[in-house]
Amino acid sequence: MKTLKLSLFGTAAAVVAIGLGANAYAFHSGGVAECDGCHSMHTPAAGGSFLLQGSDQSSTCLNCHEHAGDTGPSSYHISTAETQLGAGVSPLQRTPGGDFAWLKKTYSYLDRSGATVTEDGQVHGHNIVAADQGYAADSVNTTAPGGTFPASQLACNSCHDPHNPNRRGVDGNISRTGAPIVRSGSYNNSVAPVAGQAVGAFRLLAGAGYTKGSVTFLGNPAAVTPSSYNRTEATTQTRTAYGVSTSGGHETWGQWCSTCHPDMHSTGNYAHPIDQGMGSSLAANYQTYVASGNMTGSSATSFTSLVPFAQNTGDYATLALSAQNNNSVLTGPGSTDQVMCLSCHRAHASGFAEMLRWNNEYEFLTINGAYIGSDNSTSGNAHLGRTSAEWQSAYYDRPATTFATYQRVLCNKCHAKD
């Protein structure tokens, strides 16, 4: 089959089929990719380290993960190029982790006293240093809040292991050595390895023994995502199924984030409960909460990707069942399912301060049935410098009608205080 198709390429001696072999279409395929995509072994290097050529580690990743000329969400792109980021235009990517270009969206507006306030783009997420693409270290948070990891060293490979040796075998355990990695292990159609094979750890995330500066990760967090995950949520939601596991090379999501933010997590630090069961009354709230004031929902249709929770299982096959992007599984949490960092935050960046999944800077998300945009005449100064369309894109294109006419912050999805 392969040779037959190749012959269509003609007979010219120059036709070299390199790069078109098995597995050639993916790059990482769950593990260490072709070295030449990140290292240039024989190029006269001016500066740079590790033969990466890019100004820094993250610029190297963004050579592929940002694509000038994108018109919308596009597969594995997680950054919108500056050339597509004019005033009034939102970043284009809609991945679960979020588009880093939100870090470049600075908004100005008048506060209640009429003074001009600037919401600096850098508050929208993790400021990775990628000089070629115009990303610089956070100038306010010099270390990870609640920790010591230096902001000046924050890079893609602070969180992702570029060589990812973390493999999940047929027993569901993750280890750094063992059966060969055959493909990504992130997707609902790629989770199950057969005997003698392994799949990559979720999103090539840093796993046990991966050390960056003074921090060392203790395990991989469990999750499964739909194979098509970078998409508008205007009509159907993208549901990443986050799991809970602390055995076989795993740690919880809260523990993983706390590698760099230890004091955001440990009990007694006045932080929000994390990695803790919802309990029956909060689970019931989640299941019945539709919108502010509306508690008529039912568990089977209650999920929202703006407030995801961790299913209390480390079984990837179970997680894969919920990892859908067609609204076929919108089941809400049971009492043992957990609240975790990613219930409220995204992992890369978002359209909101503190990298939250919704705007927590004002009591209403919508007023009079529309987003609190500068073009909504009833929203006064509450628009925070964005148009309704910009707010809508930050909610991954959901129409305002998804919410109540006067919707309050989504803490209420679990707490139902509105």
């Binding site: 198709k5 036709v15 390199i18 050639a24 030449d36 050529q53 004019g86």
Partner: protein
């Protein structure tokens, strides 16, 4: 006797290979790329990262689009005109000049791409609708456009599709590049096309970075590919756009190497130039290439390095 004969043959082989080597070297000696200047406006060189480029090869004018602003540069790389910021066209992705000297814009609004005919000042005159698209291309949305010899070449980098149309939008031919590649078990989503260019023989040139490969698609639909992964001269790290010069040489941008890699018309490696650095002739993350009628090569870059212009020469 026998030993002598072998020695003789060895000498022949040795001199043959010397011949080949020196042929290769003289080839390399004939191609020269010298940095001329960077595209500039009255405040100095542009300080943008990447952005879309196109060239009007008859007038040797260059169009550079950045955040909906279309900037037009004369044959010396000075900005002479700009428009677009007040147009309600959505996201402007590209500009081309047709045979009559009118400007054609490619824009993206509310989920679909539109081609807009403008006068030479960039004032919209009307939409050019793609007509008679076959079923497989019914929802084709272009993200790039090239005008050449009266035809419009449209590419969708994410859909991996190409459409060639008449100036009035009538479909001439189309390609699903992904379907033309020998398939394994991989997803369409795992690859991107680079920007395309069209050479003097109307071949469409592009690369697929993740495959470490460059492609030449002839008007008859024959696809030729070349390239090998690697950092050594002539090999590909993370490639970008490809163009062909007046001599038929192929020039391929490499973002990771930060160099332009040159091959002759038979696809033999000739040389590389650029490389990461702060000198004017250096490049940082070169991605898109266009070439004008005088073999001037325009290169977009990252790190706010704007567009570098090189003169190619062959003596």
């Amino acid at each position: 006797m026998k030993a002598n004969a072998i020695k003789h043959i060895r000498i022949i082989i040795l001199s043959l290979s010397l011949l080949i080597v020196s042929a290769g070297m003289s080839m390399a000696g004939t191609f020269k790329a010298s940095h001329l200047y960077n595209l500039s406006d009255f405040t100095g060189p542009l300080t943008y990262s990447w952005g879309a480029l196109s060239v009007d090869a008859t007038r040797n004018e260059v169009y550079f689009i950045y955040q909906n602003l279309v900037k037009v540069f004369n044959e010396n790389g000075m900005e002479i005109f700009q428009f677009g910021d007040d147009l309600q066209l959505g996201q402007v992705l590209g500009a081309a000049v047709d045979k009559n000297g009118d400007i054609v814009l490619l824009a993206y609004l509310e989920g679909r791409s539109t081609i807009i005919k403008c006068n030479y000042r960039g004032e919209p005159l009307g939409e050019i609708k793609l007509q008679r698209l076959p079923k497989d291309f019914a929802d084709f949305n272009a993200s790039q456009m090239v005008s050449r010899d009266g035809l419009l070449y449209l590419a969708s980098h994410s859909e991996k599709k190409l459409v060639v149309a008449e100036a009035d939008g009538t479909f001439v031919r189309g390609y699903d590049v992904f379907d033309m590649l020998p398939h394994m078990d991989k997803e369409r989503n795992d690859i991107d096309l680079s920007t395309i260019s069209v050479d003097q023989h109307n071949n469409i040139l592009f690369t697929i970075p993740v495959l470490f490969s460059a492609f030449i698609l002839s008007p008859e639909g024959k696809l030729t590919s070349f390239g090998r992964p690697g950092g050594a001269p002539g090999r590909f790290n993370v490639v970008g756009g490809m163009v062909s010069d007046s001599q038929g040489n192929y020039l391929v941008a490499d973002m990771l190497k930060s160099a332009v890699i040159v091959f002759d018309k038979d696809l033999n490696f000739v040389k590389e130039f650029g490389y990461r650095g702060a000198q004017p002739g250096n490049l940082i993350g070169p991605r898109d290439l266009v070439i004008d009628g005088r073999d001037r090569l325009y290169v977009t870059q990252g790190r706010a390095r704007g567009v570098s212009v090189f003169q190619l020469a062959y003596d």
